[in-house]
Symmetry: C3
């Protein structure tokens, strides 16, 4: 276990673009405000979703589509850095018309219907992701 | 996409009233502390839940009841203003006795069994909701 | 309903130990930084999960296992004090390989595959839990 203290930075409230891609929009907000490291929280609705599940045995993500409109019950995660670029790592919990929930790791292909986003900047040496041998995941280094 | 920076204000921790209505209690905490704009986060349990799903085609919410006791796994959203009044917009993820999840947009009728709430005030020109033609939803203006 | 304002303290970002127990790791981060009261937020993945559901009629938790690897879509809750010790109260929303969600109150037995955690310290008189007659739960006193 490793941990590090960050100073609080700016707090941004955003209304994401109808029809935009969820991951791309979050990265755009972070980039527009020059945030290297931030916490992400959002609620809203998607007109289509594409998610992934990490197979811990074979160490690979499998992607799947969620057809139809869904409520975005909760989007949680963070913005950090990977290979010199903005890396958005967020997990989504969604609900269909009967309330049944589906969720996973967010990948490109989530189409925004409406989304209310909060970015809380974390000020300090930026968190950088790099390949972790044990899990196969791009985890934070130096923590 | 539009975004705006807010200054952080007060952080309130609340224990909501057993038997109270979830939406009304959150609004009461915000009003008691004079908060116009705030982030909302909570966990707890409900003795009854009533949720809604937004039909993106016909642009209307359909409400449904969730019978029986449930864990409140996560309540995420915000407080802002609409037509001069406090508007609480939160989405809930719930779980039944076997862990199966159901969730949606929170409407009146969610009865609190126990609830631990955090309100993080956002200081700046208050966020106001108004009718959005594209989605049919009361989205934030001026963002 | 009772509420109290807390001052913001330190913000800690942690990468929890692969193979560690989720509750024990969160308590260890709080203890390592000397935090009596804090908010908890995390995403990640678990190789095994054990959750609980509170039966509001008989006032007792029933525990159940979630077999196999799962995405940790959202972990929300707090750190406070109970009987002089660090008490971690968190609820988890999980998803399996097909995205289906399961969740509940987190108990010992959740094995971490990877976990990105944020602890936001709340500075003020520490929140203490004690037995609540109405619900049978260890709720916060003095709120």
């Amino acid at each position: 276990m490793g941990s590090r203290e960050f100073a609080r930075g700016r707090r941004i409230v955003a209304r994401l673009s109808h029809g935009g891609d969820l991951l791309a929009e979050i990265a755009a907000v972070a980039d527009a405000h020059g945030m290297a490291t931030a916490e992400v929280r959002a609620i809203g609705a998607l007109s289509h979703a594409r998610l992934a599940f990490y197979d811990q045995e074979i160490k690979a993500y499998g992607e799947f589509d969620v057809d139809g409109a869904v409520e975005l019950l909760g989007l949680l995660g963070n913005v950090s850095r990977r290979d010199g670029a903005t890396a958005v790592h967020v997990h989504a919990t969604l609900a269909g018309h009967d309330g049944a929930c589906v969720g996973g790791h967010v990948v490109p292909g989530c189409r925004i219907f409406a989304c209310e986003l909060i970015l809380q900047e974390l000020v300090g040496e930026p968190l950088e992701r790099g390949h972790d041998e044990v899990t196969g995941l791009p985890l934070w280094r130096g923590l």
